[in-house]
Amino acid sequence: MSPVQIGAVAPDFALPTLDGHMIRLSGYRGQRLLAFMWASW
């Protein structure tokens, strides 16, 4: 699968937060966003 491309719309997804809510990427439309990919170790 090709990585997110500059200039393209990022594929949407929904993921749970610590308090059990779901956050959807498309829910951030209207605001700039930084997504940080990491692991706890």
Binding site: M1, V9, A10, L15, Q31, A35, M37, A39
Partner: protein, 268 residues
């Protein structure tokens, strides 16, 4: 990356922040509590978002070996470490995956390079004044970690009516150079900055490119050894000229002290 420490700068520039990892919610909850994380940590335990984004890292064993983590069968699915930036329409505007999973940038560097916004300068700052040019240099953090990338930013304020030379340059002239004194384990990357502009001197056939007004340059500094507390010594060499005269070539020295810190686990 010290995102948490830069959170106010992101908010001030209207940039939302979240983090995605393949850790379970329990792991993330204890991490968030321990480190006082104030932005969403999203759990992608089965890595479906990481896969959809095409950011699955297939070098898991190597990563775990580096961090001293034992690989279990249920741990496959880690993402490549890095950031991507979206605009208000959800379009990807920047990706910062540095190739080596060990190299990390600061939040201030990401804010500036992905969103064009200057955050608070937390690092040391030094100023110097030479003929025709004032220089301000700073680092984006006051400390470094093993394999962290800091940016050395150098602002030049060139007096009106003067310019300094860029490259390429005819023999006999002094181009702008920004150098960092060698430190064991410190890797200095290529200089970023504006392109110099063409300039023609009266009565001379030679072609020049020059900087004038305000020009900001940045050099990536990657610390590949634990070199302890140290001083980054930068030198800025230039010659300022007008259309008719040149001032004496000058080297300005700037000293920026940095301390080393060790906690890898406080990086977010």
């Amino acid at each position: 990356m010290e995102l948490q420490r830069s959170l106010a700068d992101f908010a001030a520039n209207d940039v939302a922040v979240f983090a995605i990892s393949y850790d379970g919610i329990d792991v993330l909850a204890s991490f968030a509590e321990k480190h006082g994380i104030g932005f969403p940590l999203l759990s992608d335990e089965d890595s479906h978002a990481i896969r959809a984004l095409g950011l699955l890292n297939d070098r898991l064993e190597e990563l775990h070996a580096f961090y001293g983590v034992t690989t279990r069968d249920d741990m496959h699915g880690v993402a490549h470490a890095g950031t991507f930036a979206l605009d208000a329409q959800g379009i990807v505007t920047d990706k910062r995956f540095l190739g080596s999973y060990r190299v990390r940038e600061t939040g201030a560097a990401v804010l500036e390079r992905s969103f064009g916004a200057r955050g608070s300068v937390r690092g040391p700052e030094a100023r110097a004044q030479g003929p025709g040019v004032a220089v301000r240099a700073y680092l984006d953090e006051a400390h470094y970690r093993f394999f962290q990338r800091l940016w050395l930013t150098v602002d030049l304020q060139i007096e009106t009516g003067l310019h300094v030379y860029g490259r390429p340059i005819p023999d006999g002239y002094v181009p702008l150079s920004i150098d960092v004194e060698p430190v064991d384990g410190l890797v200095v990357g290529d200089r970023e900055g504006p392109a110099p502009q063409p300039f023609r001197m009266d009565r001379l056939d030679e072609a020049f490119v020059v900087y004038s007004g305000t020009a900001t340059f940045a050099l990536p500094l990657t610390f590949t050894k634990r070199a302890g507390d140290l001083v980054v010594r930068a030198s800025v060499r230039y010659q300022a000229c007008s259309a008719t005269d040149c001032l004496i070539p000058t080297t300005l020295q700037l000293e920026l002290p940095l301390s080393q810190i060790n906690h890898v686990d406080a990086e977010i």
